[in-house]
């Protein structure tokens, strides 16, 4: 039992260490705490050009490290968020933004959900309408036929007391 729990502790320790090794290592000093907040926000939003689906905060690629360094120095130099994004987009294209600008080829991305939703809503309304009108028609025609049958049956009943 003690041997087993020792194994367990070792295993957990190993896992904990592995976790730390994977994290991004470098840290930056900021002259103002707001800059640090903006650094985190922007490094989450900028996409690493080398790795397909990681932001520069998560990536270990050399280019992501360069871009983090650049981001830090630009923030310290007093650049605005828009200026920084502009700078990155001018070099790496819209690809580097996880939220691409509205307009141009990314227009499709922005508008498609709305258009699809609208199309779906139209389809739903049309289907519901046609169904309910068909149901109404059916109800009326059946009730007319049935009214006759009912009258006939009633007449029969009256004939035979």
């Amino acid at each position: 039992m003690p041997a087993r729990s020792r194994m367990m502790i070792l295993l957990l320790l190993g896992l904990a260490l592995a976790q730390r090794a994977a994290a991004v290592v470098e840290t930056y000093e900021f002259s103002e705490p707001t800059l640090e907040q903006r650094y985190y926000a922007l490094s989450q939003e900028l996409r690493c050009p080398k790795c397909q689906n990681q932001n520069i905060a998560d990536s270990d690629a050399p280019i992501a490290r360069d871009l983090r360094q650049l981001l830090h120095s630009q923030l310290e130099e007093g650049a605005s968020d828009d200026e920084i994004l502009e700078y990155m987009v001018a070099r790496y294209g819209e690809f580097v933004r996880y939220r691409p600008r509205f307009g141009g080829p990314s227009m499709v991305l922005w508008l498609a959900p709305g258009i699809l939703l609208l199309m779906g809503a139209c389809l739903a309304v049309l289907t519901i309408r046609s169904r309910s009108s068909a149901a109404q028609l059916q109800e009326q025609s059946i009730s007319a036929e049935e009214a006759q049958r009912v009258r006939a049956l009633l007449a029969q009943d009256e004939d035979k007391p």
């Binding site: 050009p49 280019i63 650049l70 070099r91 790496y92």
Partner: protein, 175 residues
């Protein structure tokens, strides 16, 4: 009749979906067009790797050229190098951008493996690389005689890439 046609709606949706997915199979998600296509190569002032002279944008102009981003720390560059030597011997003007490398190691590389470059720009900090939108090595840019970028290939330039993609563009620009 109309309700009969409705039965084909799922088939139609499937066909459209299949078409899109099939197209997706042949798309390369890693392919990222350079933001510089159709634009001028950015201004720079960097030393020549071999002579140490100042190099600027002016030195690239006058001829259709390939700008090849390379480094001694990049294994794919080693793989690519012999083909560049061959292209250079066929008369293609290749300009080297030695990217975030060490001078000594880079010079040794050129001595041992041959020098296909018309000139080599030493970009120690990766500043020109950044302005070009380089995200790794090797990368190769096709630039016309006036310094406008026409194509960027990220990865190794081999016979297939040259013959199928770069050469047609290169020859078109030379006309």
């Amino acid at each position: 009749m109309a309700s009969r046609l409705k039965l084909f709606v799922p088939l139609f949706i499937f066909a459209v979906l299949a078409l899109f997915l099939f197209r997706g199979l042949s798309l390369d998600p890693k392919e990222m067009p350079s933001a510089l296509i159709g634009k001028q190569v950015p201004e720079f002032l960097l030393p020549d790797l071999v002579t140490g002279e100042n190099r600027t944008r002016e030195h690239l102009l006058g001829e259709v050229s390939l700008i090849n981003v390379w480094a001694t720390w990049c294994p794919s560059c080693l793989h690519e190098h012999p083909y560049l030597v061959r292209l250079a011997s066929e008369g293609v003007r290749i300009i080297g951008l030695n990217y975030k490398d060490e001078d000594a190691a880079a010079l040794r590389w050129l001595q041992e493996l041959g020098d296909p470059y018309a000139l080599n720009i030493a970009d120690r900090q990766g500043s020109l690389g950044l302005d070009l939108g380089v995200y790794g090595a090797p990368e190769t840019y096709l630039v016309d005689a006036t310094g406008v970028v026409h194509y960027r290939h990220a990865g190794v330039v081999d016979e297939r890439v040259w013959e199928q993609t770069l050469r047609p563009l290169y020859e078109e620009l030379q006309r």
